[in-house]
């Protein structure tokens, strides 16, 4: 697990509509990334 203070690795992945999302484009905002096992599973 990455530790606090570590630069968040940049990435580009598609959202649910296939639109690419790049983490570095969200600079200036707080961002929460939350992994879940797969769609339609709790959490």
């Amino acid at each position: 697990m990455l530790e606090p203070g570590t630069p968040a690795p940049d990435f580009t992945v598609p959202d649910q509509d296939g639109i690419p999302v790049t983490l570095s484009d969200l600079r200036g905002r707080w961002v929460l990334l939350w992994w879940y096992p797969m769609a339609d599973t709790p959490g």
């Binding site: 649910q16 600079r27 939350w34 769609a39 339609d40």
Partner: protein
């Protein structure tokens, strides 16, 4: 004192991520009317970078339940092993409020 963000405001800026394809994520999002985006990490490269699977394991169908709060400068502010799913949003909001107050 800065007002803490509401859950709605916060979730509008957050994202889930799974090894699921976009089409399945779209149905999942619509089913529960999530206000945040669901990202598809179907080749698991983001999961590898964020250590959401155990080191040395092959491609997995189920990522570990981890979350990361990332600050406006692009650094990890908080790392979580999510065990209490219903309580996790409130936990993150409390941390966010505290972190914002420290700035």
């Amino acid at each position: 004192m800065t007002r803490p963000p509401t859950t709605r405001e916060w979730t509008a800026r957050s994202s889930g991520s799974a090894s699921t394809r976009p089409k399945a994520n779209k149905a999942f999002r619509e089913k529960f009317d999530f206000p945040f985006r669901l990202l598809s990490d179907y080749d698991e490269q983001v999961g590898v970078a964020y250590e959401t699977r155990d080191p040395g394991t092959e491609k997995v169908s189920f990522a570990n339940r981890l979350s990361y709060l990332i600050d406006p400068e692009g650094n990890i502010a908080k790392s979580y092993k999510v065990s209490e799913i219903p309580a996790h949003p409130a936990e993150v909001l409390a941390d966010l409020y505290e972190l914002r107050e420290q700035r």
